[in-house]
Symmetry: C2
Subunit: 307 residues, 2 copies
Amino acid sequence: MDFTDVSLVALRVFREVAERGTLTAAAGALGYTQSAVSRQIASLERAARAPLLERRRDGVRLTAAGHVVLRRAVTVLDEIDATARELAGLPAEAGTVRLGWFASAGAVLLPRAVAALRRSHPSITVSTREGSTPALVRALRAGTLDLALLASAPPFRPLDGESPPLTVRTLAERSLRLAVPVTHPLAAADSVDVADLRGQRWIAGSSVGDERLMGVWPGLDERPVIAHTARDWLAKLHLVAAGCGLTTVPASLAPAAPAGVRILSVKGGPEERRRLVLARLPHPLPEPAARLADALRSAAADLDEPA
Amino acid sequence: MDFTDVSLVALRVFREVAERGTLTAAAGALGYTQSAVSRQIASLERAARAPLLERRRDGVRLTAAGHVVLRRAVTVLDEIDATARELAGLPAEAGTVRLGWFASAGAVLLPRAVAALRRSHPSITVSTREGSTPALVRALRAGTLDLALLASAPPFRPLDGESPPLTVRTLAERSLRLAVPVTHPLAAADSVDVADLRGQRWIAGSSVGDERLMGVWPGLDERPVIAHTARDWLAKLHLVAAGCGLTTVPASLAPAAPAGVRILSVKGGPEERRRLVLARLPHPLPEPAARLADALRSAAADLDEPA
DNA sequence: TGAAGTCCATGACGATTACGCATACCAGAC
DNA sequence: GTCTGGTATGCGTAATCGTCATGGACTTCA
């Protein structure tokens, strides 16, 4: 079995695995069994005469050979899909751009930029999906996304160690904010001191295990009390409005705060800088993607100006 | 069955069929049965929801949809094969050029150009194969060749009706010549009159059926006597040397005439112009192919000068 | 320290697929 | 008619590929 005899479904499975980071997840996404995916990958590795995945506790990562195959597989599969569209008489998908975004960008920046783009370039179709930073980074590498809106915190590491490195452009850099109920004593002032945050009840992000505890003000010198955990921003903010606790929010989310919530800055501690960045593969960007990138940039700038 | 689910072997089979012009020939080349090829094509057409081949008495021709699929298939298969090479640690085949040639070019122009190129650009690898004009044209379209050296006779039609049209460059245009044994009465002069060709015995090219009878001087007002038929130039010329008959030769072959053969021009009839042309796909040429094209051009020019 | 959860690999089995063989069909040459 | 190109197709067999079920390695939690 030579590599020239690989099957397209094996390549498709491999791309999905590269994007999901897990055989099991890829199987779910494809409607296969984990077993089937495992076999497909095994057969692909046999054809390549080299391991393509490095098996780790929490899933898999691409090896060097894996990156080679992924890059090629993406162009092959894109070509096949383009053929299918061409045969079906559909216009080439030249006018669409695929954007991935981290949840914090979904409430304000994303709708504004997409609306602006629809006004200025009505012919461009934007399709987007939400995802975690690693998922979006993998999707960029797998060629499933053109652009990804990501959050980045100090020490502003590169998004992944792979090569070629992703191109990253900072759209906005502002300090982390605090969401408090308007009924809360702290809500009286425009800003609070970090010392006043001791003993508060917090609404955290994903349950636990995340490297840093999202939602709780970083660097507190106590073990925080987690009253609730929620991934969804709307839920989080309404929990805050209901007086269930405090939480941190990126400054860019401020315009979307519902009634009953005040967004404050926090003084007295180390500055907590947060970046909103736009990432993409280093290759030249297709035209519609470049236009969307422009729209995102100016939407981010507008966000900064009036503040 | 969607087109996105085609199998690579189906694409490979299809490319081979496009190149050979016949299911049976493709089957032979691939080591398959004609039956298997027929089924693969049928399955491909089912996936494409459109006939890709037009069945004719003497084989098949690509339909419009067939051309779409062929173009895509070529890039897909090339990508796959490049992946295989990359995985095997082989250098990308960037330094090689594939040339096809019509038999008349094989004795003089081809060896000279390849030798010159080896001197001037030793790092370029040239791989060549001989073939009939339609076979070479199909191979160009199937992406199996970068360049093709072809013979062309009035009325100098385009090589095929397909689009995009092939790029054709004339390397040399000279008149058809006549090969006679040195012992023949006609060999006394430098040229013969067309009237003297009546009643001669001829050595023709491929048996028959070819649109025009190769080897016999065109336009004779009699039914020529075919003494022998031979496709191979060495055989033909030695048959001439042995006094078995006369035959026509392209002027470019003159330097390769063996002892015992004289190459004469023919006066008194309509001028019989023959072109030696270099054909390729209209896309930009890879660097090594451009160098070989240069070498062929100058070899052809050198051939013309000293004449 | 044991139970439960994550992940991937693999043996057994069944359904589908894809091949080769033989044959049918069609059209042109003689 | 018969022969010689070509393609299509019924049939039997062998290989492929999915699912199911299980096992092994490891982490997390009580």
